[in-house]
Symmetry: C2
Subunit: 293 residues, 2 copies
Amino acid sequence: MTTPLFDTVCFIGIGLINGSLARAMRKTGLVRRLVAVDIAAESCAAALELGIVDAAGSDWATVAEADLVVIGTPVGAVLEIGRAIGPHLKPGTVVTDVGSVKMAVIRDLTPSLPEGVAFVPGHPIAGTEHSGPRAGFAELFEGRWCILTPQTGTDPQAVDKVAEAWRRVGSMVEVMDPHHHDQVLAVTSHLPHLIAYTIVGTADDLEGHLKQEVIKFSASGFRDFTRIAASDPIMWRDIFLNNREAVLEVIQRFTEDLTALQRAIRWGEGEALEKKFSETRAIRRAIIDARQA
Amino acid sequence: MTTPLFDTVCFIGIGLINGSLARAMRKTGLVRRLVAVDIAAESCAAALELGIVDAAGSDWATVAEADLVVIGTPVGAVLEIGRAIGPHLKPGTVVTDVGSVKMAVIRDLTPSLPEGVAFVPGHPIAGTEHSGPRAGFAELFEGRWCILTPQTGTDPQAVDKVAEAWRRVGSMVEVMDPHHHDQVLAVTSHLPHLIAYTIVGTADDLEGHLKQEVIKFSASGFRDFTRIAASDPIMWRDIFLNNREAVLEVIQRFTEDLTALQRAIRWGEGEALEKKFSETRAIRRAIIDARQA
């Protein structure tokens, strides 16, 4: 147990990420009290049953008890959440979030925050294909990066405290411009998920018999895509709608590259294929070397 | 130890798959003697050093000692291999292979096989992104499917013996028409690998700084693609060149589906996105239920 960094944390939405963060915060003793607000009664019940928070319910005014608020909902809900919690936030409270896009969250949340409340947007690069508080675990963030995208003028002490909280739960912290974050994540996360959803959807549209065989023989590559295509649909809908420009830009690049490979296959250009397939091995090695494999 | 099913097996090419099969055959005692022919001296040396075969070298005439020959090379090499081993095969020998496409292998190998030699084309749905005999392990085929695509008129006893060999190393065996095999695998394996190579290539083309960040934050989805994009380049070049029509057909389907999602993102059609992302979850559950996850 270390010294508490915050007195009371209020989680808005208690799903996989906030549910894991609650466990990790409890385990490391970095807050004294943990409460949750979630519009889904079953999530509140599960969080209480699991003992990962001390209180849970649907009352937005609960944020008044907190000196740290962590928003962990689909990013499309942030505008309304800001309007709901804004009037209840007390000066000195630090608000952060765990959303996968940052420009839209800043746009939607900032207007609702009262004077004296610091907002430190965050994004832990961690997760699984499972959803809900029961799927969480305290070790989810260990050895993973957490990106913070504070705006110029944000209280540096608030940024430092949020960064320290992530470090205490095992993460490495990187501070980044929110626009740049959205561009990087469009490549590393949003495009891969869209591609996985697409390919699994393509298989899902096959006629019945062929579809059964795709499932049966999925160990040949396909199943790796189904795991990430099993991620939460609402969360991902909101990510694509809220990082539209960056995602459309990388889809365009991807499509051009796929067309080039398609053409090489059609014209039997073996050398071009082999060259491309050899280059991609180097990236895998770099990821293994960076201990993110 | 069970009764040997074959006296001597000769592996043509001793990489990941044949190297694993050698270990599994040794472990289960299903052959008396194991030999390997590989044009790469270092693969032969490794196989001998690992003790997974009793003899290894580059002499095609070695197949004369075998009553089972297992071809485990990139499928583009099969035509030349057939010409090289054909004159040395003794009547009664069973030839099989482990290639990822079946129509092309049948086309390329059959003309070189003498009277009295049965060919039972095979494809174990198992593998890793690693290559070479050192990467192999005896348990690779346990609980995995192996597809056999014998042609009408092939000695049923030869088919039975090859099927029994795969069962003894832990696989489940499915007999299938070779053309159908190539269509199913185009969806479950060839398209996923092509997409993975493409997306990793797209990232590889980014300017230096952004590329470093893609590696750093790859845990957000991208790294799942880099694993399969690290597979053997020559093997995959040959697969695409030898299953051209089926692969081009599924690329076309995939591109149409991606374009539809791209359009939904551009026009902010949240409902369409959510519907698509929800449907794909069912396939993941089916794969888990089929114990192939």
